[in-house]
């Protein structure tokens, strides 16, 4: 144990000497939440309809009242090409005549519905036209001595079980995804450096010549990589806590709040994942012959956890995913942010599975390091 600690300190010292590559590993943890929040801020502004929406209204003098109504709700005509949105409302030539006879009067809404930036504005205009139509309809009935409630036979009350937090589930799912991923990214450089790199510098053989078992060697390296991975998680949690609070989510009708208890839970969940990540990355790197080769393998291997977490974030996968490592933990965390109870059984099973895989990988590594082929990269 003492020897493991000595080795562990040596590994950390080694890693810390190369400050630039240490930082490179942690850039992800610091940068991702900042970039994501920046993107969301831009996106929120683009997706929401502006307070004053300018569109083109053709034949406006045929429907003065409708145009006035729209203006009072912040939608008006403009000829200024710089501020006008690409939405056109065409009032039919027969509009006044049809109105006067109590017929349905024609207005045509011309717009590209696939344009994400316009969708909110189009929905808004549609809703306003619908409201205007309903209001006119009610008044027409009143003018004929009929109560407008007659034509609303159903009164539908919606009782939404969502909370302000759970409505932001999609965003939070993405946030959890970046956090789990940071476990894999943050320690990756160190994992390659301390295995394939050490071999390339010929210091691995030197290490093994010391009175030290391969088990102690393997575990000290795993612990060093794990602690780097966890450092990445702590960083991303702290940066996220502040970055997500800056985005005006309330404009989309929900809130994103990373509570201290959630942050603690996230950290605890990340511990077994970090062990898995470390042993996976180390064993793959040891199998590679050179530093470069290790990098290429790891990029491919990283794809597996990425897919697992991704699949559960977007709920495209079968139920079995909730019992697999990584995706299971991701789903358990999602339940918590949605304000539901922590699925303890699921979390324990998947965390145990994660640890088991990590142990198996460590054992495999331990045995392979006894082979000269691996030690000298033959």
């Amino acid at each position: 144990m003492k020897r493991i600690m000595t080795m562990f300190r040596k590994e950390l010292l080694d890693a810390a000497r190369d400050k630039r590559s240490v930082m490179a590993g942690l850039y992800y943890a610091i940068g991702t939440p900042l970039i994501m929040c920046g993107l969301f801020m831009v996106l929120i502004n683009q997706l929401s309809s502006p307070d004053d929406l300018f569109i083109k209204i053709d034949n406006a003098d045929k429907a003065k009242d409708l145009v006035h109504y729209l203006e009072s709700k912040g939608v008006s005509h403009s000829d200024d090409a710089t501020k006008v949105k690409d939405i056109r409302l065409v009032i039919g030539d027969e509009y006044p005549a049809q109105m006067a006879k109590g017929e349905a009067a024609l207005v045509t809404l011309v717009a590209d519905n696939s344009d994400d930036k316009l969708q909110k504005s189009i929905r808004r205009l549609e809703a306003l036209l619908q409201q205007y139509s309903a209001e006119m309809g009610s008044l027409r009935l009143i003018a004929r001595g009929v109560d407008p409630r007659v034509v609303q036979p159903l009164k539908v009350e919606v009782e939404d079980q969502a909370t302000a937090d759970s409505k932001g589930g999609m965003i939070l799912g993405l946030a959890i995804f970046t956090m789990i991923y940071s476990v894999f990214i943050s320690g990756m450089n160190l994992a390659i450096d301390t295995s394939a790199g050490e071999r390339e510098r010929n210091s691995l053989a030197l290490l093994l010549s010391h009175p030290l078992s391969t088990r102690e060697l393997v575990w000290s390296k795993i612990l060093a990589v794990t602690s780097f991975a966890l450092l990445g998680v702590i960083l991303i949690l702290i940066v996220s806590k502040f970055a997500y609070a800056l985005v005006p989510w309330q404009q989309l009708g929900f809130a994103i709040n990373l509570s201290p208890s959630f942050m603690l839970l996230m950290f605890l969940v990340a511990v077994p994942i970090a062990l898995l990540a470390a042993s996976l990355q180390l064993s793959v790197s040891f199998m590679a012959k050179t530093f470069k080769e290790a990098q290429s393998y790891l990029t491919i291997v990283l794809f597996v956890p990425l897919m697992l977490v991704m699949a559960s974030t977007y709920q495209v996968a079968p139920d079995v995913l909730s019992w697999l490592p990584l995706s299971g933990q991701q789903q358990a965390l999602m339940e918590v942010v949605k304000g539901k109870e922590l699925p303890l059984a699921q979390l324990l099973v998947t965390s145990a599975a994660t640890l088991a895989i990590a142990l198996v990988l460590a054992l495999v590594m331990e045995r392979s390091l006894k082979s000269e082929k691996v030690v000298f990269g033959l």
């Binding site: 003065k64 005549a97 006067a100 027409r140 003018a143 004929r144 001595g145 009350e157 309330q250």
Partner: protein, 511 residues
């Protein structure tokens, strides 16, 4: 404990002429039925759903003594609801919205407040309180039994007997339901809900409550918004003159509007003619009931007609129909009047007993001889005064102290809002209210009626005022915007009718 509070629609036909109606009446009629309230009696709030709001909100109850002078006496429940902030950036503050009436339930109008104050709610909780005597808080309603609203003759009704019947039906001590006790209830709710500061919005009669709260608890007030202002110095019974003013404005508007004037050139005479005719004798019509479609007799009295005109003025949409309805009525077609009457009967959800408890104690005695003779000049003024005078004699509520009528003196930020077309609280009332306010600003929307926060522009200004905490730098350009809508020219359209003489258009239409 889970209790279902069923709230009966409080419809009181005599209210049509008698009520001061400092309320916001709108189209379509507000839903006033079942709500699920999960309540706890220790003042804490629990999650619940309110009609028209799909989100979960919080509902709570505080127990207060009915009579503050007897703290150990009878306790009543004051219900409140909190529409939680989307992002609670100011957990110690709430935006309190006070409903009008007197007698309207704030919680029943939660969906309206939610829509109006969406921007405020992004960062602050919205607090709604059913004032004592309204809604779920020991409702003082008057049940008018099975009166047939269409055939009922309001002019032959015995106001005194009805007021007595209503009073007899109350089990509460009706002298304890005035504004002053209700202000203490606000304090109790504020403490129970755990807020340190309130932004207080009052509409109509609610502005009296907001002013009283500012007067009595200034240290808890962050900002005050008065929308459709009833100054402390003013007896609400003077509203009769405001109604006449709004009717005159309607006639003038139609005259100034080319399409309306050419369609209804004799509108003023038409209105006078209907009044004169109905004053001689009510008109009886065989009609279909607006809602059920069954054959009924519609007895149109002058009182009902005047009430229809008055109530239609509250909402810009029904106001647009008035010239057509009056024009047709003068020609013996009462369908539109019937339709509007159906709306007013269904749309009045006021606690009549609470209304009396407030008006009789706080306003009746303030009508002096000079005011009385002025009111007698006006049809609306004199009818309302006569009816309320009879009711108040029966109810016999003790007068509030004289200092009740003192205006509010404050340096706190206050935003006053008026609509120029208001049939209840004209802009001049707001000027009176702000006489002693050092940090107040008055905005008049030239084309709006009673309660202008319903319009998106004013709602945005209020949100800005609440977040800035000062009225000085507000962007108020949109208040002046011409939002005038067209008048109905027949039963179907508001757009100018196509000219029959224009052959080109006619040819096009026939193609």
């Amino acid at each position: 404990m889970k209790a279902r509070t069923r709230y009966q629609g409080v419809r009181r036909l005599s209210l049509l002429t008698a009520a001061t109606l400092l309320a916001v009446a709108g189209l379509p009629a507000k839903a006033v039925d079942t709500h699920q309230l999960e309540k706890k009696l220790d003042g804490a709030s629990e999650s619940c759903y309110l009609s028209g709001i799909s989100d979960r909100v919080r509902c709570g109850v505080v127990k207060v003594p009915e009579n503050p002078a007897k703290p150990d006496g009878k306790q009543i429940e004051v219900h409140y609801a909190v529409l939680p902030a989307i992002k609670p950036s100011f957990p110690n503050e709430a935006f309190l919205a006070i409903a009008g009436g007197p007698g309207q339930s704030a919680i029943d109008h939660a969906d309206g407040f939610d829509r109006m104050f969406r921007k405020v709610r992004q960062t602050r909780d919205i607090l709604l309180i059913d004032q004592r005597g309204t809604g779920r808080s020991n409702l003082l309603a008057c049940d008018d039994g099975a009166i047939n609203a269409l055939a009922f003759n309001d002019e032959s009704a015995d106001t005194t007997a009805e007021a007595q019947k209503c009073l007899d039906a109350q089990s509460a001590d009706v002298t304890q339901y005035g504004s002053l006790n209700a202000v203490n209830d606000i304090e109790a709710v504020r403490k129970a809900a755990g807020y340190q500061k309130l932004h207080v919005y009052g509409v109509s009669y609610g502005t009296r409550m907001a002013q009283l709260y500012l007067k009595l608890h200034p240290e808890q007030v962050a900002t005050t918004i008065l929308d459709g202002v009833v100054p402390m110095q003013q007896s609400v019974i003077a509203i009769g003159e405001a109604i006449d003013r709004a009717v005159a404005l309607l006639l003038a508007d139609c005259k100034a509007n080319e399409a309306c004037n050419s369609q209804f050139p004799t509108l003023e005479a038409d209105l006078a003619a209907v009044h004169t005719q109905l004053a001689q004798a009510p008109v009886s019509n065989s009609v279909r009931h607006p809602l059920t479609g069954e054959a009924e007799t519609f007895l149109l009295t002058r009182g009902k007609f005047a009430a229809v005109v008055r109530l239609a003025l509250y909402s810009p949409t029904t106001r647009a129909l008035l010239p057509f309805a009056i024009h047709e009525a003068a020609r013996g077609n009462y369908q539109s009047i019937l339709g509007l009457y159906g709306m007013t009967v269904g749309g009045l959800d006021m606690a009549a007993g609470m209304h009396n408890a407030v008006v009789c104690g706080e306003d009746m005695h303030r009508i002096d001889a000079a005011m009385k003779s002025r009111l007698e000049q006006s049809y609306y003024g004199s009818e309302m005064f006569t009816a309320l005078n009879k009711a108040c004699k029966v109810w016999n509520i003790p007068q509030v102290a004289a200092d009740f009528a003192d205006g509010v003196t404050t340096d706190k930020p206050v935003l006053l809002l008026s609509g120029n077309l208001d049939p209840a609280t004209p802009p001049s009332w707001a000027e009176l209210a702000m006489a002693n306010m050092g940090n107040a600003r008055h905005l008049v929307a030239p084309y709006s009626g009673h309660g202008i926060a319903r319009e998106s522009c004013a709602a945005g200004v209020i949100a800005e005022f609440v977040s800035e905490g000062s009225a000085k730098e507000l962007d108020t350009g949109c208040i002046e915007k011409d939002i005038r809508r067209g008048f109905y020219l027949n039963a179907s359209t508001v757009e100018p009718l196509p000219q029959k003489s224009d052959k080109q258009d006619a040819a096009k239409a026939s193609e």
